[in-house]
């Protein structure tokens, strides 16, 4: 009986020390990590927003955010939040949003810029943990293929769209292009494109 108590006590002490160390480091690193992620999002947003206009640089644009009722990414985010960018003199230019697509081993997040006609003007991968050497290649130049796609053409060639899949990583390619398409369709149904964009 005494031995069991002693063993239990040692285990508890080891676990307690580990918990204290982890708790301490976590309390120090968590705010840094969160701030970094926020920073990364803003950086990516400004980067893709630059493609909305040839004349106005992203830094001079102003943006406000809209919550969209229909949310195609209900599984990962509470609502679909779209940032509406406008130039200093020329009214709304377009929108940016984050598309979430379920890939092979992670939920791929893509920051997308789309103009008022519903055509993608820029996209960059925010987060992915796909297979290195295969799906992870979506982070390179591949995602630039999304430029000039609309809801109709934003799917892989195999499915009748205009996006060439990454060799050996059709699941990732589908996840990215279809998640963007879903976002475009949700914004379309909210009347954000065409004349509605001026509202």
């Amino acid at each position: 009986m005494g031995e069991i108590l002693k063993l239990g006590f040692v285990l508890m002490a080891v676990a307690l020390l580990a918990a204290i160390a982890l708790g301490f480091v976590n309390s120090r690193t968590e705010p840094v990590i969160r701030e970094q992620q926020r920073q990364q999002r803003i950086e990516a947003m400004m980067q893709v927003a630059g493609s909305l206009s040839e004349t106005v640089p992203a830094e001079e644009m102003a943006y406000d955010t809209l919550d969209i009722g229909a949310n195609p990414y209900a599984a990962v985010d509470e609502s679909l939040t779209v940032a509406r960018f406008s130039g200093p003199a020329d009214g709304p230019l377009g929108y940016t949003f984050i598309a979430y697509g379920k890939g092979y081993s992670s939920t791929v997040q893509t920051m997308v810029a789309v103009d008022l006609s519903g055509t993608v003007t820029g996209a960059t991968i925010l987060f992915q943990q796909e297979t290195p050497g295969l799906g992870a290649k979506c982070e390179g130049g591949w995602v630039d293929q999304m430029i000039d796609k609309t809801a109709e053409s934003c799917s892989v060639v195999k499915d009748g769209g205009g996006v060439e899949s990454i060799t050996g990583a059709t699941i990732t390619s589908r996840a990215v292009s279809e998640s963007i398409r879903d976002g475009l369709e949700a914004m379309e149904s909210e009347g954000l494109f065409g004349e509605g964009g001026e509202r």
Binding site: L11, V14, A21, T29, G133
Partner: protein, 201 residues
Amino acid sequence: MSLAAVFTNGIYRENPVFKLTLGMCPFLAVTTSVENALGMGAASTFVLLCSNFLVSLFRNVIPNKVRIPCYIVIIATFVTLVDMVMNAYVPALHKSLGIFIPLIVVNCIILGRAEGFANKNPVMASLADGLGMGVGFTLAMVLLATFRELLGNGTWLNVNLLGQAFRNQPLLIAILAPGAFILMGFIMGTFNILESRGGER
């Protein structure tokens, strides 16, 4: 055994991958590129050093009957610490290694060395063993990753070596999971042949 002998032991005579056949899961999973192999090797070596150090330091305090749960707690704590610190202060490295770090917990090389070496040897020897095993593991991964990246992608450390024509039509299987097993088989076979020849002389 001198410290240098303990160190080189992990690199060749008791190479964790080719001789002890430990740590197969990360060995096969992350060797799709040389860059990943180096990153995973560095992270594993760091955790090996830390866990060997602590296990050796407390080898007379931890009761024999509960040593395995204690080692696991120590290893898992270090891996989580590495993960959090890297995420906060070197986000670029964390981004490219992100998925591999939690994998280190289940790398049996680390538990194997805690159990097989650090709990019966003094601190300095355990550190040398951790470093040697870590370097041996890294070299083994780089070797396999060299073949896989070269055949499957035409590059080595992202440098294009085999020309664009090859890159457009690479031997994709080398990067996919079956290729890892096939190439590992060839490498291990070569090692065994070399060793048996060496024995005859």
